[in-house]
Symmetry: C2
Subunit: 164 residues, 2 copies
DNA sequence: CTGTTTATGTTATAACATAACAAGCCCTGA
DNA sequence: TCAGGGCTTGTTATGTTATAACATAAACAG
């Protein structure tokens, strides 16, 4: 009866438990293979980000840590988030000054995001290969090191809600 | 003797006075035709942004305004910058929490930026039509309203300097 | 000259982020 | 064993970016 959800993992229904397990397992494996420590704070912050497909501000994360006795000062949250971003387990959303767990852990990628301005859901996509600015960069001799691609708009569910 | 600069207006040498005059004239005309006021503060802030092809923080702009007696409190700068962005005379660079004058005033556009991490120069380009995320959005039913595209890297001059 | 709209002035505070230093933990090699 | 180094965490303090809320003033239409 309910229309089938779109294939996108963040917007449609999906087995979110699998999201979480996959991401945590990938992080465990990556840390082990890289010889970096997946400490309790770092792991917990990733778990917090993984709870929803939404971007969380550093201070939101910090509030959670504080309630759980894992730290109460900004640097605790910023360090853990910085670690997760460095390792590719999370991404910073510039537009929101906030962070999301990575949806494609393990694979090297140039991430791009679809951000719903109504419900805050963030869906991670793959940016065009070479990047959307490859041509311009080549023309001018600019060497691109990293590209931020973030689209804002309305997700399917929020469009439906707005139409109602 | 010196190698010819690339064609890109921001990175290469160019008649910057013409940049400024063109942009101010376009802003004058647009304000007149839209019936909005191009007040002294707004005009001055655009002039300040136009001085270089670099992004300026709101508080940098504010410091300039303050020295010139045009305002000393954050809302003064944020309002003027907000106006310029609304009208398309300037753009906000999310990655830098800063603002640049628009390089293509007058034409409706989906801007994209090349940001040199060394000298801070910001060059404005045109994003791919339909946007770099058009395909993903269409697949999932997401309706894109705006897309941020910002590449960081090294401009030609700074690459040369780094190599030396 | 009065009410409306638009812009500016001002206070105060919210929200985001990091520098700098102290303390603990764990490993390793003398 | 324990001295030292490397890494992580704890804490203080502060820096940076941004906006809510309300007061004042200027411009204009009725």
């Amino acid at each position: 009866m309910t229309p089938l959800p779109p294939p996108d993992p963040a917007f449609g229904r999906h087995d979110h438990g699998a999201c979480v397990r996959t991401a945590l397992a990938a992080a465990d494996a990556a840390c082990a293979s890289r010889g970096v420590q997946f400490t309790p704070v770092r792991r917990r912050v990733l778990e917090i980000l993984l709870e929803h497909h939404e971007a969380l501000g550093a201070y939101d994360v910090l509030a959670r840590l504080d309630r759980e006795g894992l730290g109460s000062k900004p640097p605790v949250a910023y360090r853990a988030l910085g670690f997760l971003v460095e390792q590719g387990f999370a991404h910073r959303i510039e537009r929101l000054n906030a962070f999301v767990a990575c949806s494609h852990p393990g694979s090297a990628h140039a991430p791009a995001f679809l951000i719903c301005r109504s419900c805050g859901t963030v869906s991670e996509a793959e940016a065009a290969p070479g990047g959307p600015l490859g041509k311009e960069a080549a023309q001018s001799g600019f060497r691109i090191e990293q590209t931020v691609v973030e689209a804002q708009g309305l997700c399917p569910a929020c469009q439906a809600a707005a139409a109602a």
